[in-house]
């Protein structure tokens, strides 16, 4: 295992993949992030602890952690961190890495994200009804009924569409996204 922080180490790769991530090494383990996090109590490790684990090279444990998936992107940690570490962005990096490494056993959040972007890639817009239905049918079949009544009242209030909109430039968008994915793979 490479030394923490050296080229090729887990910490180094996390930093490389995060714009402005180089300040991660200055973390003083004060816990402001963990103290501020609204979903902190549900995380298996606090963000602070996760950063210590990253420094210690515990790649597998970090990428299996539910912590990044419980991040609600409220950015409280980021505006409070005394070292100005872009914590939310590091959480996105860890999610990207976990998905690539297929290590996210404690959460089905990635599948929610996948369902979401499936619509975006096909239509250029998100589609709440299809999204909720598809995701819940595959992951929470037992809650179908509850959702059903919720969805029906949403429909009743005119707050749920029956079919998705599609943008005109969907081909253009796909070309852009394909290129982006190709560039991501190279990095």
């Amino acid at each position: 295992m490479p030394n923490p922080g050296s080229n090729g180490s887990f910490q180094h790769r996390v930093i490389e993949a995060t714009p402005g991530g180089e300040v991660l090494v200055t973390c003083l383990q004060c816990g402001t992030c963990g103290g501020s996090c609204p979903s902190g109590p549900d995380m298996d490790h606090t963000p602070r602890r996760l950063f210590a684990m990253i420094g210690a090279g515990m790649e597998d444990e970090v990428l299996r952690s539910n912590t990044p998936w419980y991040c609600v992107s409220c950015y409280y940690c980021m505006v409070r961190c005394p070292k100005e570490i872009p914590i939310t962005d590091i959480m996105y990096t860890l999610k990207n890495m976990a998905v690539k490494a297929k290590l996210y056993d404690d959460s089905d959040a990635p599948d929610w994200s996948k369902s979401f972007i499936g619509y975006v890639e096909n239509y250029g817009r998100s589609f709440e009804l299809g999204l909720a239905t598809r995701y819940h049918l595959t992951h929470k079949p037992l809650r179908k009924v509850g959702l059903g009544s919720f969805g029906l009242s949403m429909l009743g209030k005119g707050r749920l569409a029956l079919r998705p909109d599609r943008i005109k430039g969907i081909e253009q968008l796909r070309a852009i996204l394909d290129k982006a994915k190709e560039l991501e793979a190279v990095q």
């Binding site: 402001t32 963990g34 606090t46 602890r49 070292k83 100005e84």
Partner: protein, 673 residues
């Protein structure tokens, strides 16, 4: 006539010789460089034997110039200049090449190290040929001293000097001396009462025949140079005639106007419009605060004047301006407290029972607004639980990146006082506990024994939004307990914010006014962080206490005393040498364009209207050389850093550049003037 140059290469034990082939370097210099008549290497050039080597050669070989390739000139330039002088050579005809700091300690490749060393020796040789003999100026030192700031640092410095028999002018911005220390209740770790140890010193200052105390005054301008400064001081109108006032305090009793005291009581108490910050104030004379006085606002009242038994009130009093001649200056201007409102998530200013550390000092203080009772903002309720939050605005890139140095200990002190006076539970939220000095760790131990709770984690927020039973009506302190790795919410009645120390808001202006430098943040810069902590780069200006950086009372007092000792040294010698590195204008070449006039921040350049040329006052010139570089006519020359000397050094440093003409030693290219 060509010069006779001696080159001396130091081994510095193995510090240099371990990387640089010193024998080869010395051989090369002797054989290759023009005008080098002696070239030697030696184990330790700075030793007395090494110095004798140089002195002997000067005498026997008739050397006219000396080059020493050794350590940085900041370390031993003085040493080698002295040995040249003792052999009868002008000390400024010596030049050093820093082949230790710049070569052997920073380079691994031995071949590269040798070739860089050769370049540096060649540079020094080319340069030293053009050196001129210079004489340092001697100036007398005025034995009077100006001390700026009447906190404990300034008090200590002033008393040390005054007791030694020298005259001191002590200038303080506020109506009384005493500074922050006068606001404190107890002092850590011994828990001495601050007033008990400070007020005797304050009255010593007030009564000392050698101290001219100028309170409610500010230094507006400083001119002159080491040994001979003139400080212009504005003594603000007190509207009380000091000569007539007995300090009886009747005026204060009779004044009908009460306002919040933002300074001494830290906003936690009230004072009158005519006031003395606190009963033991020195001097004892009150001040009328023009901003809140009813007479100044509406033109009637004058209750103070009516009741004053000695007719000491004078509403017509004006500011007075004094010019003080002093030889040295000690700056002891202190710190400002970080404004806790800048961290809204801690609720200061919004949540009533969130206090700053300074407010809490006043709360504990027997002569404070609650007579020492620790109570909530309602003025009556004793807290049953108190949270102390460390590092408020400190160790934070968004505010002050530094550690404020005293908060950990103050927090322990507060913990003790809360426990002693109220029996409340105390929770201390810290990042790292730093009890660094004598007796401090023991004090930490004592608080652990007293049952204070320590939670390692920087507080995320303080809120009144309860979430679970037990939190209603409380302030909830939320943090990660990093030793447990979990979020905790502690409901408390009172929160104390350990607001950090930061430079005075006008520190940058003050540093400019006194011609010293300060850090980006505003801390005054010492001459050397370890070996010269109270001197500054400006001769004759010293610093003491927290204006230099956060520190506690013992360190502050040490610095006050140290600065006084340095000044006494200057006075004892009676005169001071001023480096002759100054700029001169050659009248015949000056076109009178006046470009240089505005460039000098020391006002050393004046324009002689009669001759229509500019002129440099050598006593004011600090030798930076900016004007030399800027003169379009090339009419200004900088002693010891002339264009020719620099050009020669460049050519020497590039001795190994292959040039078309194949010259072994480069021939300087003539630059048209």
């Amino acid at each position: 006539m060509s010069e006779r140059i001696g080159v001396y290469v130091c081994h510095c034990g193995s510090n240099i010789a371990g990387v640089v082939d010193v024998e080869e370097l010395s051989r090369w210099a002797g054989e290759t460089l023009d005008d080098v008549v002696v070239s030697r290497d030696y184990k330790f050039m700075c030793s007395s034997l090494g110095q004798e080597l140089i002195e002997d050669d000067i005498k026997k070989e008739g050397l006219t110039r000396v080059v020493v390739a050794a350590c940085s000139p900041h370390l031993h330039e003085r040493t080698f200049r002295r040995s040249c002088a003792s052999a009868g050579m002008n000390p400024y005809l010596c030049q050093m090449a820093s082949i230790r700091e710049q070569v052997s300690w920073t380079t691994q490749d031995k071949a590269a190290a040798l070739s860089k060393s050769k370049a540096m020796v060649a540079g020094a040789v080319e340069r030293v040929k053009l050196h001129e003999a210079l004489e340092p100026n001697q100036v007398p030192v005025n034995p009077n001293t100006l001390v700026v700031g009447g906190g404990i640092a300034g008090i200590q410095a002033a008393l040390e000097l005054a007791d030694a028999g020298y005259q001191v002018h002590l200038v303080e911005r506020e109506p009384s001396i005493g500074g922050h220390m006068a606001q404190f209740d107890k002092t850590f770790p011994t828990l001495d009462c601050a007033a008990c140890i400070l007020t005797p010193k304050m009255s010593d200052v007030g009564n000392h025949p050698n101290i001219n105390l100028l309170s409610y005054s500010e230094v507006e301008e400083v001119t002159g140079y080491v040994g001979n400064f003139v400080a212009r001081v504005r003594k603000k109108a007190r509207y009380v005639k000091e000569a007539d006032c007995t300090g009886c305090g009747i005026c204060i009793d009779k004044c009908p106007k009460k306002v919040v005291d933002e300074v001494f009581e830290a906003g936690l108490g009230y004072r009158k419009a005519v006031y003395r910050p606190f009963p033991q104030a020195v001097p004892k004379f009150p001040v009328i605060d023009r901003e809140s006085c009813i007479y100044f606002e509406r033109g009637t009242c004058k209750a103070c004047e009516k009741f004053c038994p000695t007719n000491a009130i004078d509403f017509e009093q004006q500011d007075t301006i004094l010019d003080l001649e002093v030889g040295n200056i000690i700056l002891a201007t202190g710190y400002d407290l970080f404004d806790a409102r800048k961290i809204p998530q801690y609720g200061y200013g919004r949540l009533a029972n969130v206090y700053t550390s300074l407010e809490f000092e006043r709360l504990c203080n027997a002569s404070g607004p609650t007579e020492g009772k620790i109570v909530l903002r309602d003025g009556v309720t004793q807290p049953k639980s108190v949270a102390i939050i460390h590092c408020v605005g400190s160790r934070d890139k968004r505010h002050n990146p530094h550690c404020s140095a005293i908060c950990c200990m103050s927090a322990l002190k507060f913990g003790h006082l809360v426990t002693e006076k109220t029996g409340a539970e105390v929770y201390s939220f810290y990042i790292d506990m730093r009890p660094l000095h004598k007796g401090y760790e023991e004090f930490y131990d004592r608080l652990l024994e007293e049952g204070m709770h320590f939670i390692r984690g920087r507080v995320a927020e303080v809120t009144d939004a309860d979430r679970q039973p037990g939190e209603e009506g409380k302030l909830i302190v939320q943090a990660e307990d990093t030793l447990l790795g979990m979020q905790r919410r502690i409901p408390v009645d009172m929160v104390i914010l350990m607001a950090g120390l930061q430079p005075r808001r006008d520190a940058k202006d003050v540093s400019l006014r006194f011609g010293i430098s300060c850090s980006m943040a505003g801390w005054f810069t010492e001459r050397h962080p370890k070996l010269d902590p109270v001197a500054t780069m400006t001769d004759g200006v010293f610093i003491a206490g927290t204006c230099q950086g956060p520190k506690d009372i013992p360190d502050t007092v040490s610095q006050g005393a140290a600065a006084a000792a340095r000044v006494q040294g200057m006075i004892a010698v009676g005169s001071v040498e001023v480096e002759p590195v100054v700029a001169t204008i050659h009248e015949e070449r000056c076109s009178g364009c006046r470009i240089c006039n505005n460039l000098c921040p020391f006002n050393a350049i004046e324009f002689l209207t009669d001759k229509a040329v500019s002129y440099i006052n050598a006593a004011l010139c600090k030798g930076c050389g900016t004007c030399v570089a800027a003169c379009p006519a090339g009419a200004i020359s900088g002693a010891h850093f002339s264009n020719e000397q620099i050009f020669a050094e460049i050519s020497g440093l590039l001795y190994d550049v292959a040039r078309g003409n194949g010259a072994k030693t480069p021939q300087p290219v003539e630059i048209p003037a």
